[in-house]
Symmetry: C2
Subunit: 286 residues, 2 copies
Amino acid sequence: MGERNGHLVIIGGAEDRIYGKKILARFTELAGGSQADIVVITAASGLSDQMWEVYRQAFGELGVINVSHVEISSRADANSERTVGMLSRADGIFMTGGDQKRLLALIGGTEADRALHAAFRQRGAIIGGTSAGASAMSGQMLASGAAVPQPEKGAVSMAAGLGLLQHILIDQHFSERHRLGRLLTAVAQNPCLHGVGIDEDTALVIERGVGIEVVGEGAVTVVDGRHMHSNLAHIADRENPEMIDVRLHVLPAGSRYALPTGGRADALPASMLDFLRKVINPHPHA
Amino acid sequence: MGERNGHLVIIGGAEDRIYGKKILARFTELAGGSQADIVVITAASGLSDQMWEVYRQAFGELGVINVSHVEISSRADANSERTVGMLSRADGIFMTGGDQKRLLALIGGTEADRALHAAFRQRGAIIGGTSAGASAMSGQMLASGAAVPQPEKGAVSMAAGLGLLQHILIDQHFSERHRLGRLLTAVAQNPCLHGVGIDEDTALVIERGVGIEVVGEGAVTVVDGRHMHSNLAHIADRENPEMIDVRLHVLPAGSRYALPTGGRADALPASMLDFLRKVINPHPHA
């Protein structure tokens, strides 16, 4: 397994766990199929046993023989040898929904956090996360914020995420919960970040150093505010900022983009190449 | 009144007609205040008498003495001397909501249509429209289309509008009815047009040759697809197109932009200057 690049499977919540299970099947396939060692982190959820039961059944139905529950209800659990051992052996690590702040409060900065990064970067393991588990993946995490109809200064708050991705902000249940206003707000306040909104039953699959793919039923919406003109610095909290020249990409399921090799960089629009370089992180230590 | 430039007051529907009436008050003020001759075209609506009653009362409460109903229930009505006379004398012409296809079916290409253009272009009259009356103003009109969560090929259909604006596509009830997916669809299919989504109780006010202002409670969202990369030409109907590098502007109420004079063109972001030139139409005969 040493030659695996590592994948992130970032799911917008409400992925099919009963019928076709397209996204969970892809996660399983990437992790190595029915022989893969898959572990499920339910720490984002206050109902972790019920959450575990849902995924135990789903992965079981996908033919996975070794699927285990990483039970973390305290930071001590997250630092335990048992937890680190499970994460260090896993081919696929799946983080369920719940509340991303709860997930980070329990595992942020622990041995589990370190083991997760090592699994991804050193062993090329597959890290999946849905809903809260998706939001938690980036270094800058959307902590809370209402689905405002228009961008509104101060309407979202941020927190430190796991940092498997950098310079990215992930939102989920994106079209279904009408979260463009909230993602635009986050980008207006943090124009150095790309906002990534992922629809339900849809995943952004990132192969480290190689490329990305959108899998599932909806789309991935990317909001790039780096070229934006805005008056955000000059307005009061709760006022609506002007935002001019935000770049928007809508990537439907089935979209695939790979870093061009052999001087074919012009095969991709410059802004997509730029986004791609950011998320696939070809030089993680740069 | 000969020196008036002409204004369009393009309202996203559901403007306040009872309390502050901010937008209707602005329309009235631009038309000349309580002494203005204001006429109301209800032809978009199948309940034109009830619609007229709402605006008769609203403009009456705003102190307008001369407010009249242009009754058009057939193309003969739209070609009648009475109709043309009313439009030719009006300081302000207001088009209510209903169905923009009905409005165009009744007045498109008639003497009323010609009188409306002459009022705006030659006499500098104020043309207001809300909801269907807003959609109808541009040359290319959104005729129908569901509020798809993601852009979807074939999900919207277009028709010929009144053409008081060109190269623009107007949608209304924009944030409230979650119509970004539909506006993106329209722009994906017609990348030569700027999509303009106007929220409820919000107006894009355009002073011909001069500038624009956003009035009311919500925002105006502009979608510019001219730099877009898309696979729309290569996918089947009902599939979701890829859209990369759409330019998005969100202009909250209170925003004002004027065409710079005396070489100050760099005071505006280039893309806003470009949008401005398009909508204010400084050279209408060019």
